[in-house]
Amino acid sequence: MNFDDTPQEAAFRAEARAWIAANAPKQYEEDLKKSSLGRTELKGANILEVAKAWQKKKADAGWACLHWPKEYGGRGATPIERVIWQQEEGAFGKLSGIFIIGHGMCGPTMMAYAGEEQKRSYLPPLASGEKVWCQLFSEPAGGSDVAGLRTRAEKRGDNWIINGQKIWTSGAHYSDYGILLTRTDPNVPKHKGLTMFFLDMKSEGVEIKPIKQANGQSDFNEVYFTDVKIPDAQRLGDVNDGWNVSLTTLMNERMSIGAGVATGFPELFEFCSNLMLEDGLAIDDRNVRAKLAHWAVRASGLKYTSMRAISALSKGERPGPENSIGKLVAGSMIQDVAAYALDLQGAAGVLSGPEAEAAGKFQAMLLRAPGTRVEGGTDEIMRNIIAERVLGLPGDIRVDKDVPFNKIPTRGRG
């Protein structure tokens, strides 16, 4: 058991560190360090442009998508090298946020199912950030029950015609391409009539409307499809095998370990270390300490769980669903942490914005937090995954399992 780099790892780390020191956009480092859930701002700059420029620079020097094969724009690096890169990239890694879905989910799905020419043409600009991808799975009628989606794809000659609506699509408004899960046969049970495609988001008939979230910001979109034409050559996997294709996508989501999930703990610890209460520093208060300790061991537990997963990965073991705990733990924790930080502020905790306590970061965190417990799999879905796939408990009883999709009830009352 050790945390030491091997000589090769140490050499890789030194090379990465030197390159980052010479090339990273340092003028934004302070702002990036200060950014937290619900509040990422770069003074005087558009974060999308800064992120794309940094990604392109990395790609040109061979530091983009480290775990991808070189021919698709990656570096062919080992899992450990990828982790070392993340450690060295530090706060600049926050600029990768807009590429997570493309690099973590769309890219690997393309690698598994697209033709060789398509891979060579589409993947390198995805790796370099010149093209941004999104993932079009969720629908108003299918969130946790994603296989309940209704967007139709109908074959016309060599094309498919798409009609329907997606929702909660991160970054659709700045995406160039997307992977799209559709229903191609409503006469069979729901998992058996789905087909996956990729498409140009600028296609005629695609309409994108930002969602105004509960916290007032707009990170997600609704995407409407009206007679959108997709060539059959852009189908990923067999017709009606889209469910299995989507499982590849979701499994790759779990491979993106090591990046670390935000818990809010470092921010709270720093806040309590400096906050003066009536009778002294907050961190000297016994009640505050008990709360901090409770969250400290959850944060460190997640950190070391991730390190165990990385060690397993580097030995060639496949990361399993046990990694679902990261999001499950961090999601509700950051919500509780934010609420507690407001509690410590007393009546002034009600005030938000840059003039408020701690520049309003905990108020922004509190208002953004409910989304973290829903997006990418709700807490309840995560618990089901752990219960079923790790502990081996029975699946939920599915009353719609063997029913043709178009016979499944669509409303609860009347």
Binding site: M1, N2, F3, D4, D5, E9, I80, F269, S273, I283, R286, R289, A290, L292, A293, H294, A296, V297, R298, S300, G301, L302, K303, Y304, T305, M307, R308, I310, S311, A312, S314, K315, E322, I325, L328, V329, E380, M382, R383, N384, I386, A387, E388, V390, L391, G392, L393, P394, G395, D396, I397
Partner: protein
């Protein structure tokens, strides 16, 4: 980086698990729980025979000289099996204190006896309610004579030797405390068994009246040694707790798969599934914190005090969480004496207190994190 136990260490864990599955079934735990025996002597001999008691004791003092990572994997199995033996008192507390502070003669005398199981050791620290603190120690030493009362002393009624924390000064500082080694079979010390929430491991009151004792370590360094021993023991005990938590989770899972209600296994109801998923989360976080503690312990890292506190808190929470919800999954049967659930519940709550309570370690963790940040 390799943040995992080695294949050899995992092999040792499997050996320990196999050995304990055979020699320490729940029936063996019950023999002690029911008060028929103060501890399982056969099992104790067996553990000594396997070399488990002295796994981290150097060869020159009669141990196997393997190391603390090896001791961690054995501790996990001891906890998993609820072994009704004075393993933690003798190995984590007495042996560690003697190794750390003893002179060569003391090590030569006691460590081989502890490694072979011929002598049981313990640490006599507490004097009634409260958490570890130099102020709470009233038992006094004058010359080589001790006077005072210690309770609770883990395994105090069956121990042969105790490391005793005593007051040797009155400056109000922690340097008022010194450690002594006491042969508990000698005159001037009386042991009385106390009832406790986990009768599968004994607790006692030790009364010292002009009891002869020899100093362990330098005068005035007692508290410093005790603090270090508690940190080391916290990591080892955390592995016991994680072993117990995992077993309680498995018991709950297995029962949820077998028990039918409303025409289906109760493990198919989300209320039960999610409860078990949350238990898994606690146990996993605790295990990961423990691995970090193991690394710090085995390398004597400067991070040990912080890592030990985190492992201790996380493992205490996980064992308590898994043990209480294991009963909940079992429903009414979980509340019977006949089912084994209560044995885990008892052990979970007893181990939560032995080295200082949860709130004590929470306070310690934040204190240590703060000092590191300030440094």
């Amino acid at each position: 980086m390799n943040f995992d136990f080695s294949d050899e260490q995992k092999q040792l864990r499997n050996e320990a698990r196999k050995f304990l599955a055979e020699k320490c079934p729940p029936k063996a735990v019950r023999t002690v729980l029911d008060g028929k025996e103060p501890y399982d002597r056969q099992l104790w001999k067996g553990l000594a025979g396997m070399g488990f008691l002295g796994v981290a004791i150097p060869e020159e003092f009669g141990g196997a000289g393997a190391g603390h990572l090896e001791l961690c994997v054995i501790a996990e199995e001891i906890g998993r099996a609820l072994a009704p033996v004075p393993f933690s008192s003798s190995v984590y507390l007495a042996a560690e204190a003697i190794l750390m502070a003893g002179d060569d003669a003391q090590k030569q005398k006691w460590l081989p006896l502890i490694a072979s199981g011929a002598a049981i050791g313990t640490l006599a620290l507490f004097e009634g309610k409260g958490n570890p603190s130099p102020q709470a120690i009233k038992l006094s030493a004058s010359g080589d004579s001790l006077n005072g009362v210690k309770k609770p002393v883990p395994d105090g009624a069956i121990a042969d030797v105790a490391v005793v924390a005593a007051r040797t000064g009155s400056s109000g500082r922690e340097t008022d405390i010194s450690l002594f080694l006491v042969d508990l079979k000698a005159d001037g010390v009386e042991a009385k068994s106390l009832t406790n929430v986990d009768p599968s491991r004994g607790q006692a009151e030790l009364t010292f009246r002009n009891c002869r004792a020899e100093p362990l370590g330098r005068a005035g360094e007692g508290w410093s040694i005790v603090s270090q021993v508690l940190d080391r023991a916290a990591v080892l005990m955390a592995f016991e707790q994680v072993g117990g938590a995992d077993r309680a989770l498995e018991m709950g899972r297995d029962y949820a798969l077998d028990r039918i209600a409303f025409g289906r296994p109760i493990g198919s109801f989300q209320a039960v599934k999610h409860m078990l998923a949350d238990m898994y989360v606690s146990a996993t976080l605790a295990r990961s914190n423990c691995y970090y503690g193991a690394w710090a312990l085995s390398t004597n890292a400067s991070e040990l005090p912080e890592a030990a506190a985190a492992a201790r808190i996380s493992a205490t929470q996980a064992f308590q969480h898994c043990a209480k919800n294991n009963i909940q999954v079992h429903g009414g049967m979980g509340f019977t004496w006949e089912f084994d659930c209560h044995m885990y519940y008892r052990r979970a709550n007893a181990t939560a207190l032995g080295l200082g309570s949860l709130s004590y370690w929470e306070d310690a963790l934040i204190d240590r994190m703060r000092k590191r940040n300030a440094a």
